[in-house]
Symmetry: D2
Subunit: 309 residues, 4 copies
């Protein structure tokens, strides 16, 4: 294991936010989901991330969802709260609310919508750090914010105590490898991969943990996978990962002719969780759409193949 | 002029939001700016757009800014309110607030951050339309939302009464020309260009008006320009546009080595307005930075050349 | 007109390269096309551009096509030759061949495929200039080479005598306006727009001429359009442009479900030219495909509406 | 190891092409490099790839470089030849030449410069396959060609016998994992990663081999790394990879203020090889530039740290 004793490690699912058919937070389902994940052995919960539909929820619904997760977790595992907002002032406002609602850490992206220089991205994280009294993880998700957090930036922010870790959803494993390698001496720094199908590989590369959306659906699988990695049983890890990689094809169930990436991902996770009886509805927020019955059958087939139905 | 009698036409500046050095709305400056613009002869005001730093302001500050603009306009010209939010539910919430605060129309972009299919963009606008009882303009700004509104989509939404116009900040004059041409028969539809330096050209092409950020700085120039276009005095229009195009180089004052596009644009507009004595401070919201003294002198030189100091 | 007396002006069609069904240069058709264009009153011919399928042709076929155009033009109008190659050495080799084959100027893009710094783009044009004894036009086509030639770069190269003009296919009319305005004092510099549907607008903005692919199909229309611009008859220019803008919708005939942008553009131009009896075949080079019979009928309908059949 | 018995596996360096200071192929250096690589135990040689400056060389120089590699390899390991050209006809022409010059396989990208539909990318590979009587590897390099080869496309082409393998330089390890997993039953298919710093991880994921540019500089390291993977000594593999990952920072030696990605990569590899005494000159082709003396010292420092000087 890493000599740096990361603050956050293991499986930390980006918790989906169950909704009622009319778009309200389905608190009972969310409580069941949190229980399901914790019983499976996850190490933490990431609320209000991309998989949590954070950018689809009004502030009131965001607050409600975070309250439910914190209350249901009941201190058994830390709760990381996404503070996904366009720019500094808005992020700080959300982070302050997250702190009051009991979050154990905040997760922050580069600014988006605004046209921003790398120097301004650096200033953004430093300003959030100065304003918020909680551990801060940088969330690298260029597919959504259209800015890549470079290895140099992340490492500089980490060295200065600005960020306590990285959730990498960039798809750039090359950059992630550089961060992991060069962060080796940074006490407490947590390097987390967000990519469902390369967790074994990134753990071999030195990651501390994973934040895979698919862990909502099969937390037991990811917990087994990370245990195998921790034990150095790499062939077992690969076998488990291969099973999960096949399962991940549920995100191909929704037709690419009528569904965007958000729908295909979150919609499939929710459909699978409804099929597994964990949540009550597979509803997603507008302008996304719920999977059709046919698409739901494709999800079910993958769940069966993976031994989850 | 267009046979379609557009609801909105002429010069509609995207009003910048003056801030105090500690980041609060500078209401007195904003009132003076509104007065300055209306006295120059603008046809409307677009509050809370990209130039208005909408994505940099907390909701409370957005509300404050819109209140001030509506009160200062006092019904003399219509106030369009940007409702720039990531997805449908959040846009509707902002639009409802805008309506209550007295806006005369709302301006809405494609969803952002979320990974969205064209079908979902269409659904987004239709859902906003169904929920909001105000004229609705589509705001095409791919540099910020990373989705282009195609001519086909805009025209289909317009034909169905979903959108009442287009504010085009896409840089894609080819697509804009198709919209203008094919919207000729759509009663009330307003085609507005957002590009400061091709207003004469787009008016020749059939635009109904312009929403140029630079019109904060020199509203009289843009009013003269559109009057020349309306009169068919195209050589005069071109001469005025050439002067404004030279003036637009104030956005090159801030160093590209340390300032992003938002800083370079909004920062320069505010610096120019402060130099002209219209607003009290050139402060911009984090993570942007105010222009330096040297950069300010470059802005001043352009203002002098343009006869504005 | 521009005080700078541009070397190249007026309508300069990017000549398509007629092919036989088995992919060879159809010299007889190409000769007829050149005659058709010159008789319509064009001011020059741009061979081996994007519309000329340059990147689809082997070197031997490129040579053949250029030979035919030069011979058929017979000195009546200048022939500009595209030298579209990945990097400096390869461009210079092509430019030398173009010179030997009788071209009057060469047209060169930024490097592509290679990952290149702006400093290296500058060095590229200067090296080509040093090696090639012909007028040199910069071809700004980021959709193909994925590098934008900035106004500053083009103006700096022009000021140093490296480039003699710009063919702008960038879609960035804002940048083009800056070039046109700031190049006003550069003797001989030619600013040419490549965008079919904003020629009136760009001429108003100060362009010297146009290189519209659609001018293959309706050269008489573009010649009338530029004459109206030159005479200051802007309403006439706009009316002609509107007609051509409607005609340009032939590029929407090929289904976007099975045809890329190159096929949709060049395929439609060739189909229209075959329908008008100018060339013998509408064949395009692999991996493009010829338009289907149904798609051809859509092209024919647009031609009829435009009075060209 | 994979049950599919891949045709190509192990370390297959993308051989750099040494040049003389005046830009000619430095045949003596290239011969020494081939000998250096084969003696280190590589399994194959990839000539005329991106690292081989293929797009910077005239056809005559490409031919010369390939001749030298084939002759120096002398059948001891297979030689794969890049046929990097814009479109189908040009690729086929290059592939035919490669076959005549003795290449054992050809490596082909998606079309570039042209604006191409996925259906046309599929057609491209099938047409090349039909025309060329050699094993064919698909080269996925979106950073250069701006088209991503999807897992579905690669697997469909592989299932139909069109492609015999994949060289993945896409940075998309998620997609690569899907290809590796779903290609498990495809006899002879070779899945090769092109990313220097995740070779251990991708071998764990099921890759058959690697094509790392850095293997020019330290072939022994990569050979040890793949041997450790083959033996299931994953901790050893990771340790070797970590050393190589640190060494890979030689690509950061050239200043990003004056050098593009091609210069920074190839320039550094050549500088390192010159420092190690393998090749005579570190010259690169225009518009790239050779590393400065200072930058060379940074490369030397990394080589020393890695125990290579």
């Amino acid at each position: 294991m890493s000599p740096r004793k990361p603050r956050f490690s293991g499986v930390i699912p980006p918790v989906v936010t169950p909704l009622t058919p009319d778009g309200e937070i389905d608190a009972a389902s969310l409580e069941r989901l949190v229980e399901f994940l914790i019983e499976a052995g996850v190490s933490g919960l990431f609320a209000l991330g991309s998989s949590g539909e954070a950018v689809f929820l009004t502030d009131a619904r965001r607050d409600k969802a975070l309250e439910v997760v914190v209350r249901a977790a009941a201190g058994r595992v830390p709760v990381l709260a996404g503070c996904i907002e366009t720019t500094t002032g808005r992020v700080i406002e959300r982070a302050e609310i997250a702190r009051k609602l009991g979050a154990d850490a905040v997760v922050v992206t580069a600014p988006f919508y605004a046209r921003i220089h790398p120097v301004e991205v650096d200033r953004h994280f430093r300003a959030v750090r100065a304003a918020v009294d909680l551990p801060l993880l940088a969330y690298d998700v260029p597919v959504s914010v259209h800015t890549k957090l470079t290895a140099d930036l992340v490492l500089s922010l980490a060295a200065d105590g600005v960020v306590d870790g990285l959730k990498d959803s960039s798809g750039d494993d090359v950059g992630f490898r550089q961060v992991v390698l060069r962060a080796a001496g940074l006490a407490g720094f947590s390097a987390l991969t967000g990519h469902e199908v390369v967790v074994d590989a990134m753990m071999l590369a030195g990651a501390d943990g994973a934040v895979p959306g698919l862990a909502n659906v099969d937390p037991h699988g990811y917990v087994r996978l990370l245990r195998a990695c921790a034990d150095g049983r790499w062939a077992d890890a690969k076998a488990e990962q291969d099973r999960l990689t096949r399962l991940f094809r549920i995100v191909e169930a929704a037709s690419p002719a009528t569904a965007g990436g958000s729908t295909r991902g979150v919609g499939a996770f929710k459909t699978a969780l409804a099929l597994r009886g964990v949540i009550g509805h597979a509803a997603v927020a507008a302008p996304m759409r719920e999977l059709t019955a046919d698409e739901g059958r494709a999800v079910a087939a993958h769940l069966e193949e993976a031994g989850l139905l």
